[in-house]
Amino acid sequence: MGSDDARADRPDVAALLAHEARTHQMIAPLDSAPTPARARATADKAAASSYVWAVAAIAIVTAAGLALHPVATQADMTMLYLIAIAIASLAGLGPALVASTLAVAAFDFCFVEPRFTFAVTHARSLLTFAVMFAAGLVISTLTTRLRGQERDAIIRERNTAALLAFTRDIAAATTTGDVAAVTVRHLESVFPVAASVLVPEHGSLVAAAGLMPLASQEEAVVRWAFDHGEAAGLGTGTLPGARVLAVPLAAGESTVGVIAVQGREDPRRRGGASLPVLESFARQSGLALGRVAAADAARESALHAHTEELRSSLLSAVSHDLRTPLAVITGAATTLRDTSATLSPETRAELLTSIVDDARRLERILGNLLQLTRVESGLVPHRELVPVEELVGAALTRLETQLGDQQVVLAIPSELSVNVDPVLFEQVLINLLENAMKHGAPPFELRARAEGPRVQLEVRDHGAGVPPGREARLFDKFERASTAPGAGLGLAVVRAIIEAHGGTVAFIPPPDGGPGACVRVELP
């Protein structure tokens, strides 16, 4: 397996390096961590300058001592050198040691008799050297520790602030993708790492945010962390040699995902506080994922309940609204067949008329039901630029017999065109006019006009109007304005078609303030 794996690994390394470079360029971490190479150079330069600083401090004190020689005593010089060592120790333990050594040497050379030699005549002077060196050592150790604590405090504070900011942002996330993206963004801004949030999908773990090429060994680390609910990889007890550190995301009892980080530095060692911080991030992220999952489940069950409700109302509508006309047809037809001889010609004509009428009614209901299903299942309107006048003409031709001599007042500019599916839009006009005939009273009015880039179309009747408060609900399925027969589908079809065209439809108060109902369709 070895050679294959090695080959498979190589592009990953390249990709990782490229990713790291990108990450650090795009995101300015809080300590403005530079790129790896530059960081090393900067650190070297910093180290060199702190040694120069140590040497300079001793040189200045020595020069000052020489200038003040007759006045300053050996005891004064010892104190001055200790100050120089203390200053140098601010730059670190190394420079402090160098400064201490240099201080003892310079003191011996310049101020201890015989002067300007390293020879020592009095044994007492050796004791002075030892005390001076020891004092320098103590000062520098204490200073370095203080500096370390100060740095730790800064890092702690920074991590706390980062966690606070993270907690605030994650609270606003509403989807798994959001949670993952926020987690990755914050992690990458706090640590010089590439981060990825992986969530289970169809049995495998996939990145919900943060792209990180994972070799098979790293994938195994991530998988282990997910399966066992424990951190694994780089620097942990499990698979510590891996390049990746995986921290599980827990929501309650279950593990809902994994944070994987990998980068130039061991993230645990950043200020010694990073693994706990990483785990704090993981805790918040896990809770947020749990919250999102719970919300999704609630939404799903609500949707399911809604679908169920719709299905049962559809069933009741089908059983009632389809059976009623069927009952009429069956009743009239069997009467004609069985008792034809005893019926008066008028009764026969009446029965025949009701058969025809109810067959038409049945067709209308079925047509609307089919149309609604078709539009709601994502039918794309076949749009063409059509004169409104032609659409209205086609609808009125089809309604000719139903309208009879009921008056329809038209106000349609002959040059006005709309970009619609002519077949669907004819249905819209027919349903609106049928609705007006069924629930309203003549004269009916049909007006169209251009309103900027939009086209407004109004169908108005002079009936009793819409029951107040029900204007919006009348466009729902199986809602009826009055007790007139029908399945309550006509306006639902209208709304579905208009919305498929990107338009809106609503009842508005009749513009002239008169009685009756007015539906306004607005098309982009």
Binding site: E363, E384, L391, E426
Partner: protein, 228 residues
């Protein structure tokens, strides 16, 4: 004149065939029946019916296969039976050579009217120099049109459009058929163009262009000149 013509009914539903048989034989036509594409093709070859009522969804294939299998020169008049919402199928059938369509469900009156129109146009559209339909009179050599005796002035395109529709009254013509007839074969995608000219023509011919009496729109399909 057309009494005695044979009408072939191609539909796989026995009940619908029974209804059609009653209506068709009751009005003096002879009837033949077929339930599949294959049966339809062999029956047409054997009986040479004058008209065919063709359902598009047959158990052994698309009704359009029947259209394709019969050479145009000895093809009977074909009336396609289809449901609403299948405008695309209707247009495809008409453009493939069907004469007309009927949307299910249809009444007996509508059916007989369509059969009558189809049989009348079987001999081809009127070639008379003077076309007189209802209140409209078209004098082709003179390019003159009168509506109820009143002369109207049409542009050459409006005139061609009106002639194309009026010489086959009662028969639907698809957008494509009209575009090819009036503008030539390169204009087939210019539906809006056609609609604008149709609007202008209606303004001159119709008493109320929004409530056309003569030039009827078949949404998504084309236009039909009302049979007087």
């Amino acid at each position: 004149m057309t009494i005695g013509s044979t009408i072939l009914v191609v539909d796989d539903d026995a009940q619908l065939r029974k209804f059609l048989r009653t209506v068709i034989t009751g009005h003096g036509y002879a009837i033949a029946e077929a339930g599949t594409v294959a049966e339809a093709i062999s029956t047409i070859a054997r009986l040479h019916p004058s008209a065919v009522l063709l359902d598009l969804g047959l158990p052994d294939g698309d009704g359009l296969a029947v259209l394709r299998a019969i050479p145009a020169e000895n093809r009977p008049s074909i009336i396609v039976l289809s449901a609403r919402g299948q405008e695309g199928d209707k247009v495809a059938a008409l453009d493939a050579g069907a004469d007309d369509y009927l949307t299910k469900p249809f009444g007996a009156g509508e059916l007989l009217a369509r059969i009558r129109v189809a049989l009348r146009h079987r001999a081809g559209p009127a070639v008379d120099e003077i076309i007189a339909v209802g209140a409209i009179r078209i004098d082709q050599p003179r390019h003159a049109v009168t509506v109820e005796g009143r002369e109207v002035h049409l542009t050459p395109i409006e005139f061609k459009l009106l002639v194309e529709l009026a010489r086959q009254p009662g028969r639907v013509l698809t957008h494509r058929q009209l575009l090819v007839a009036v503008w030539g074969p390169n204009a087939v995608e210019q539906n809006h163009y056609l609609r604008v000219h149709m609007g202008a023509l209606r303004k001159k011919i119709e008493a109320d262009p929004a409530r056309p009496h003569w030039l009827l729109t078949e949404a998504g399909v084309g236009y039909r000149f009302r049979e007087p």
